[in-house]
């Protein structure tokens, strides 16, 4: 188990534990507690970032099949609020594996450990597949939109492809 919190030995059990072994056990328990708390902080922060994201992100009418999609989307995509919102989203998705690991760690010494492990693995794998799209939204789309607004011709198809055609 990743975070073993059951390192207990009752005085009545008859086994003899040296002072050094007791010290090791106490240190491991303290480490587990610290790790759980760090995981809890990551989980709480991750939830907060997901909650804040839609309040910061600019929303606009989006029709990826429209020939005017670049004209409609370039303003919001090139805005500071779009960049800030998606940087917050990058942080949220970065913390998400740590958050899922914290939930698993809290459940690891219970009867649902195998199901929690399956959830952790799928959740981390899914996050890995989503993050590249977030990267495009935060690093590529604002640049393309800025080029379009500056009058550079021929970049509109790139914006359409990055939004939804590929």
């Amino acid at each position: 188990m990743l975070f073993d919190t059951k390192l207990t030995c009752q005085p009545s059990c008859g086994c003899r534990i040296s002072a050094a072994a007791k010290g090791v056990a106490l240190r491991v328990m303290a480490q587990s507690s610290v790790r759980l708390r760090l995981g809890a902080v990551a989980l709480g922060l991750c939830g907060l970032l997901f909650a804040v994201f839609p309040f910061v992100r600019p929303f606009f009418t989006l029709d990826v099949f429209s020939p005017n999609v670049a004209a409609m989307a370039s303003g919001p995509l090139a805005s500071a609020s779009w960049l800030i919102a998606h940087l917050l989203l990058v942080a949220a998705f970065t913390l998400l594996p740590c958050a899922l690991l914290a939930i698993y760690a809290a459940l690891a010494d219970g009867p649902a450990e195998s199901r929690a492990l399956r959830g952790l693995i799928l959740g981390v794998a899914g996050t890995g597949f989503v993050v590249p799209a977030v990267g495009v939204e935060v690093f590529a789309m604002p640049v393309i939109a800025r080029l379009y607004l500056d009058g550079v011709t021929g970049v509109a198809p790139a914006l359409r492809w990055s939004i939804g055609d590929q």
């Binding site: 989980l43 939830g47 839609p54 899914g126 939804g164």
Partner: protein, 80 residues
Amino acid sequence: MTLVMIVGLITLAVGAIELARATWQSDVLPGWAGVALAAGLALWLPLLPRAVRIVDGLTIGLGGLWLAWAIWRKAARTNV
């Protein structure tokens, strides 16, 4: 890009639902908090309208903070 993202969102949703089911089976963490987090992550879809996305984000926040508080309490109980 869209296909990769859809695969990721589906995989993430299944993982979050599995963690919610594990949370529900355990007595350690509040089951409804796991359900809130899983529902929020499963419905995290970029093309939904703003109102839905705000509610969805708040659901993730509620579930995440609730679970974080429960895990913090568990850590405090195991502290030495």
